[in-house]
Amino acid sequence: MNSKKYQYNEIDCLEFPQKYQMSPYEGNNFLIKYKKSRNKIIEEIKNEEIDIVNYLEENYELNKNEYLKINEKKCFETEKIFEFLLNRILKNKLEFKYKKLINKFISKFERTKKIFVSYDYNIKSNSSNYKIMKNYLILSLICIKLYEEENNLKYLNIALKINDILTSNFNKISNSIDLILLKQSLELELKQIEILINKKGLKII
């Protein structure tokens, strides 16, 4: 039976991960529900903006040092590594090794539907904490930016899943920067979905 609301973020997707297997086809109405759900969250976030490039630049050296820990076979903090990787993407300095690392995180996320606070150099989690929203926010932005650059649907697909997690946990996001990042991520996601719908010549009524 078709749900009246967009059903993939109605319950906490971190506690009860969505599997997305054999999801039903509901036609045009589903995309309308999806857009409505995303826009509702966007409207609830104050109309503030931050320059992500400047924001990431502030901690660049610190984050870069965290990245270097991988080569030293040490454990690292996920948030710093993600900020470093997003910085590289936004500055058009994404080297092959960085992209390889992003793809490893994506595979990991797809299997567990969780992002842990820290990992070892083999990208094995060494923390039980997976509830820091910032990690999901930055990975979502990384994926959307990569999709913008490469048009590889793999990245848009992951961003949609991460944003389901984030919007299902919207009431737990209180930090003002996190909220602005969420707004940006949702707006970019919606923009790319709109572009894709238009590119395929589809009309959402």
Partner: protein
């Protein structure tokens, strides 16, 4: 070279066995993994579309086997890694089993003796992983199937054959189009005698893309692209 098939109760298996019979293809061994769950009932429209695609989705696999007096070995589980199944295939004289589903093959079954042939709904190496046809329909307005010999990694085995298909003109992709394209490819592989020829191609392991289960938003865009 002896070839068998391992069936389950799913729609893919329905398409495989019905098309083998229609094409008068007799395999050397038929295994049915049957949990006793014959799935849901389908609407007249889906049944009609499946018949147009060469199989009847409303007929359970076991019924097709019995109706056609085919000998088969039945297990009361659906698990490709079950020790009883492993023991059975170890003692069989089959060189290749056509795989239809039942989980990801682990070491024990892969090393049991026979090799397993998969019909993956994506043209590898560009479309490895899950629900590839949806991605391919968005990217290229078509999709394809790769037949390969299964190994321990995901969709990396030696290629037997690849076939492309136009996007469908209906919305029943999981239920009908997926079994349709896989079963059509299976018939080609057997009729062209490609398993016996054993001229398999190594995959390019450096290139390619692996996809994960498609998000419902992209799935809708893909299906709407089929019926626009």
């Amino acid at each position: 070279m002896k070839v068998g098939i391992i069936l389950t109760t799913d729609n893919r298996s329905k398409a495989y066995i019905q098309k083998l019979i229609k094409n008068n293809i007799i395999l050397d061994d038929i295994i049915l993994m049957n949990s006793g769950n014959y799935g849901k009932k389908y609407s007249k429209e889906i049944i009609k579309k499946s018949v147009e695609s060469g199989f009847d989705i409303s007929i359970p696999v076991v019924k097709t086997l019995k109706k056609n007096n085919l000998d088969f070995h039945e297990f009361d589980f659906i698990d490709i890694n079950n020790s009883k199944l492993i023991e059975y295939v170890k003692n069989s004289k089959i060189k290749y089993y056509l795989f239809t589903g039942g989980g990801i093959l682990k070491k024990d079954i892969l090393n049991a003796g026979p090799k397993f042939i998969h019909f993956h709904p994506g043209i590898v190496p560009n479309y490895r992983g899950s629900t590839c046809f949806y991605y391919s329909i968005i990217n290229e307005n078509n999709c394809g199937v790769t037949s390969f010999v299964m190994d321990e990694k995901l969709d990396t085995g030696d290629i037997i054959y690849q076939k492309k298909f136009l996007k469908p003109n209906h919305i029943y992709i999981d239920e009908i189009f997926d079994p349709f394209i896989r079963s059509e490819t299976m018939i080609d592989v057997i009729q062209k005698n490609l398993i016996n020829k054993s001229k398999f191609l190594k995959q390019n392991m450096i290139q390619g893309e692996t996809y994960f289960i498609i998000h419902p938003v992209l799935k809708h865009i893909s299906i709407m692209n089929c019926v626009k």
